[in-house]
Amino acid sequence: MVVEETVGRLRITESILEGRELHVRFNLRRGLVISVFEGLSIQVRYAEFLGIAGPVGCGKTTLLKVLAGLLKPERGEVYYKNQRLEKPTPAISLVLPTTTLFPWYTVLENVMLALYSDKSLTREDKIERCRAFLDMVGLSAFDSAYPSELSDGMKKKVILARALVTHPDVLLLDEPFDNIDPLAAVALRSEIENMWMNESMSPSSVVLVSHDIEELVELCDRVVVLTERPARVKEVVEINLQRPRDKRRREFYDYVDKIFTLLS
């Protein structure tokens, strides 16, 4: 089985997505300027599952928005496959903690928004592809439902389907398992891990922001630990554990303790 073999997966150290010397500041009110990053650099490697941990309010969400091209840094650049990233691209998908689905569209139509500006596909192609992804997250029966008829966990799955339907190379996840019931979270976690491990499927790399350290140790190859604002990289923890990872093992908790110590 591929799953057991994964600890021996090829590690490529070249980066697919990279933020170089990022500077970001926010003008909150008159005179009140918050400096989020003052020269933060971060690399996301090919085929890696990267975790980002940091104290509350250190700018983790901001970092993902910058990496997705949604937020322009004041200084510094984002490189995707060694090309300057100027604006959002279908190759990089971002899942934010807020489940933003348009209430006036069905589940299927909401997922189809991701392919809206793709001129190469016909409407039928788009519907087919979106149905396939909804099927993958287990919502094939709900494509004509409206968001208000779904549970929070189901909404998350719709968001995930919408993020994956563009076949992205990089999937940026910001607290994706927050606010959903624990059982649904377990299922969703293994879903994402399986998709990532399946090398014929997108995404190649996943970046996960989470405040749940166990979750990070369970899923990630490396965990970047950030400092308080203005955020710097405090340490990068490499996690060398066999997948699927067993939470009851001592080594697992050694990693959790290590990251916890770095954060506190």
Binding site: L70, P88, L96, W104, A114, L115, Y116, S117
Partner: protein
Amino acid sequence: MVLEELAIAWAAVGVSWLRMAAALFLSVGFSLLVGGVAALNKRAEKIIIPLLDVLQSIPILGFFPLALYGFYTLSPAIGAEAAAIFLIFTSQVWNLTFAVYESIKVIPAEFIETSKALGLSPWARATKLYIPSTLPRIFVGFVSSWSNGLYFLVASEIIDFGELDVKLFGLGSTMASFASAGNVTGMAVTLAVLVAAIILTDLFVFLPLIHYSGRFKFEATAVEDSPIIPLSSVFKGRKLVGRLPRIRFPSPEFMLPRIPLGWLTKRVRFVKTLLYALAITLLAYLIFLLPLLREIPLQKLLYGFLERIYTIGPYNIILDVAFSLARVATAVLFAVAWSIPLAIYLATNRRAALFTIPIIQVAASIPATITYPIFASLLQGYDELRTFILIIMGMQWYVFFAAYAGMRRVPSEEREVLELYNIRGLAGLKVLYLPRGIPSIISGCIAATGGAWNTLVVAERMKIGGVVAGVKTPGLGKAISVATEMGDIYSLALLVAVMVIVIISINKVFWRKLYELATSKLRFPEAT
């Protein structure tokens, strides 16, 4: 020369402002009492809320001559003044009553339970819980109540009703006398003083009040959307001038009357409303005619009313309604046509909005009625055009501000989705901005339609001094204006009743159905 006009203008504004303040004071008392009872007593609620819904859609100007007549008969000395304050009161009060009702309705249950558990007396509960909780919405309501009142203030100061010619000193009469004397400087100075007074009142009275009442809010609001300027810092700061430009204007939602539309749509029925409306119209007439009853017996009064249906003729009434309806519809369409693109442009370009919105807000706060004398002399040969301009000046802002508020309420997360998937321009409009904006655009249209009917009474025909400016074609507003001038109470009552029926029918049958349809199609859980 200019100094003299300046002095007159400031004096006029001062007197008019006093009139407005008196009416506002009465409005607050009324709204606390009636709104409070409606919110606290289920049985009273069932009667009061549909009643308020009718009252707020009644054309105030149609009732004014009657009110004037009633007050005048009671006391010739202060009758005209009392009638003017009454008219302004009726234009300010409904919005505030709904505000009180809504505020008390949304007090979290645990507060009410706590106040009962503490054994507070009803009086203590009113002063310590209910009234403070209404303050944020009341103070916010002041802004739109004030501009509403300004609109009718001008009309309340000069009126010819039969043999009764009333001219109260104030903004409206000053403007009119400058106009009839052909004093352009005087008109310009009065207008400028009015604008200055509006801005000063906003900055130094209403905004500090809104800011102050923030502490009585149960719900926390996001910093970004907070419409309040920290004016306290302006007062404390020594460098007043240096700080003023940083003041943010209140968010334009404040210009809109607060009507809980979603709620009303569900609960108030059409036929019942119509019956209510007719009953109120007749009742109001009878109350004001009470002094008259000493001379004329009731049968004769009712007979006179019915006789007018025959003398005016159903055909003429239908014609009047049709022409007025066409004017109102054109005005609403016009307002929608320019409001939506501009609202979207300004909602997505914060920098442009920063300059444009305050200008629009000041322009919108100038009561259209004060400019009537100017337009009457300016557009002498173009009756329909002048009428159109006067109508849109009275109502287009409702549509614009509602559209803008709707577009601005589009959550940033939803805009980010558009950006992430590269959905721009017209596609973004179709996918996000229109669906989000439509419910508030419709409620803006409802307010605008009501406003348009109200303006008709002066827009279709007006008489200032010896000058009569009116349309040659039929119109309900024109007919009401003529009946007022002739002092024909019976025709007036009939025409106003017709207008009430038309307004309520359009409101119930067309707009609210449209609103219901839109919100259910758009799957908004509980649209406001």
